[in-house]
Amino acid sequence: MDLLNQYLIPHFNYWAYVILMMIGMHAMIVKNNLIKKLIGMSIFQTAIILFYVSIGVKEGADIPVLHHHAPEVAESHTPAADPHHAVDPDHYANPLPHVLMLTAIVVGVSTLGMALAISQSIYKDFDTLEENEILAKIKQGGPGIDV
């Protein structure tokens, strides 16, 4: 039973992200259709973002935004409080992984966009998006293919 409590429950996030990542990677490699590969890719990338976000999670922590109801801000109005040590880190989730993941999301989407544009160009040349058919066409060669 302690296996369940000690490993499974608190690390559920990490189990989930590994499962999602493997689903995505499986699709990227095994799927025949290029679009399905790209769907697998976006699942693969969002899983990593899930991992990063779950690093910054704290039990019972508030969102990392200083709003005026927050205890620290209220105290700081009183002259005694020292403005520099206002924030108590345990109250807030760690914002740094979140910031990093903004970049990762944008990267994921731009890669998806580039890949989709390329698959449209592949469709224009090979008239199919199935990998086995494309490879068959290449093996036959033909004028347009092996320039």
């Binding site: 699942i43 999670v57 979140h98 199935e130």
Partner: protein
């Protein structure tokens, strides 16, 4: 950060991911993928990462789905696997 809530969303996430990859109609797959993104955004909002959540909602669900539908429009809707 409610653990029970997390576990439910994660299970749904895994289910939508598998469905999105198994369904043969690409348009359907795209729709399920956007559900997957919205669930992910819900999960992150609940975990305290608010900015990542609405970025994922806007970008992950919104723009990717638009890209995918545009590509399917220009190519073929049916996928062999």
């Amino acid at each position: 950060m409610i653990v029970a809530f997390d576990i439910i969303i994660l299970i749904f996430l895994v289910i939508t991911a598998v469905i999105s990859l198994r369904v043969r109609d690409l348009l359907g797959a795209t729709m399920v993928l956007s559900i997957y993104s919205f669930l992910m955004c819900l999960l992150w909002a609940e975990m305290g990462a608010v900015d990542v959540a609405f970025t994922e909602a806007a970008v992950g669900a919104g723009v990717s789905t638009v890209f995918l539908i545009a590509t399917i429009y220009h190519t073929r809707r049916h996928s062999s696997d």
